[in-house]
Amino acid sequence: MAGIAPPGEYDVVVVGSGPGGLQTAYCLERLGVRTACISRDDGPGGMFRALPIFGRLLSWTKPDAPEPRGSRAYEWYDHNSLLADDGEHADLVAAEMDRAYAVPSRPEMERGLAAFAERAPVAVRYGCAWESTRRLDDGRLALATSDGEYVCRAAVFALGVTEAWRSPISGIDAVPHYVDTRAPREYEGRSVLVVGKRNSGFEIADGLLPWARRLLLVSPRPVSTAVLAATTVRVRYMQPLEDHAQGGGTLVLDAAIERIERDGGGWRVLARGTTRPGDHELLADDVIAATGFATPLRDLPALGVSTVAQGRIPALTPFWESVGAPGVFFAGNATQGAAGIRRHVNVGSSAAVHGFRYNARVLARHLAETLAGAEPVRRPLRPDEVVPFLLGEATRAPELWAQKGYLARAVELGADGAPCDVGVVPLAHFVDAAGPDAAAVAVELGESGAIFPAVYVRRGGRVEAHDLQPEPLNRFDGPGHAAELEALLR
């Protein structure tokens, strides 16, 4: 252990050994960037042990799928494995699935991660806790850790969004947070009020349904069943919602809580209706704050790291660099802090492994080019290959499907006028950066739920966007789309 990534000077230091940290460190090491990956945990995927309430992940891993295991196209059917250059290491969560469900259990996910770290491999200095951060006069960053000081040109924080966070409600600090929820049987016969109606709120409600006497979920916003039906969280939501709709003892209330106070051995919660006006006085034996999580930023705000979502998530540029602190990058779940261009529905999956693993690979390439002098990707294409290549990507590229409207595949014209594939880039970077004539394709989701390719064409420094037609089987590589794209690129 003493030999792995000891304190010292590096191009990049990656903090964290969850899926975001492992993926970033793996990609940086493969690109030859001098990298140290450190983790306070004693093994990969500490969150899966620290928050054992998560019984199962929400996103799918399908051991059998339309595309062969280990292929790039298969990644779309396995949302939880990390990306590897070697196909043998590319579907390690799929190999762990016992097939009781199409989503992995927590131990299956943890074993898949550990197998990746060991076999890919990723060199991590475990048991090394990041403690504080400062900016040196030459602009580099110094990270003080339990093992000594690391100095780097860029730091990538892959800390998860794991710190218990409470919304600013009077009295809420006195009630247990989601992370403090006890075993379901300990709620036998009790009435439980859950503050929050998002994933964690409904997850608790689902777990307590067989035990609690009465469940009450309260938050200001109504639940949108139309949205839920098509998202990965539906398994958590549907049972308590059905119970509510049929009057089975669960109540789902749209109300803003104004105060939570002790009432004998229980609690009194005062709330005001939002979708329907009216004041409520609610009594419960237990109250649980399922109000979400924040990124554990420690002293980073002092360095200029600003946040969104009530201070919970760092505000990030298209390449996931802090808006206020150059050289401070984020990987993993926190990459949801990059907004994207919002041309259609914002559906990037940066908060889940299947989205942020691609962000990590794009970030590693960006850092390798900007800090370590790596040559940009430039794969020459024949002029007649451009249209089939871009449409093939729109049809099959897992990066574009996972990160709809956020990541794009770009082709640009070289100085000699010959086209080159320049890889996967953040769409916002493509449309805002100056550059030679180029085209990029992204997969987008429209308001009606239709999925379609969008093409962004840069000519003389100006970028225009064009949406191509949806196709019922999601095959965008047929002659109709080819004719449409050829006309745009002519």
């Binding site: 200001p220 803003a256 006006p277 969104v308 919002r342 041309r343 259609h344 449309v431």
Partner: protein, 137 residues
Amino acid sequence: MIDAESLAPLSLFADLEPPQLHALALTLEEERHPRETRVLRQGMSGNAFYVILNGEASVRIDGTERARLVPGEFFGEVSILLGEPPTADVVAASDELRCAVLPGPEFRELLLRHPTVLYRVLQIEARRLRNANLWRE
């Protein structure tokens, strides 16, 4: 989500009751953009309604500044209402531009659900139209 306290001082939402303001605050997203970043792109993106919370924005048509927007002012609504791409770039014109953001479909729902917000949006649009006409004369 955003904190209700950030919204309370905005005249746009001045007629909402505190519970409605709380619900709206959970619907709104928050964005921060460094100086010279495009938030709205002429002829291209634009399916969201932005209200400035801190900082300033520059409205530019073909690169020429046509207006400055300050906290409390909003942009992006024309694209949503007409279903057309923006006719101008909106660019962060301070070290950091902080906005509350509402996706297009939810902006339409907000206007239909809260007539007082709709009325205030109309008032501001009327003022902009009057100023544009004055400028033409």
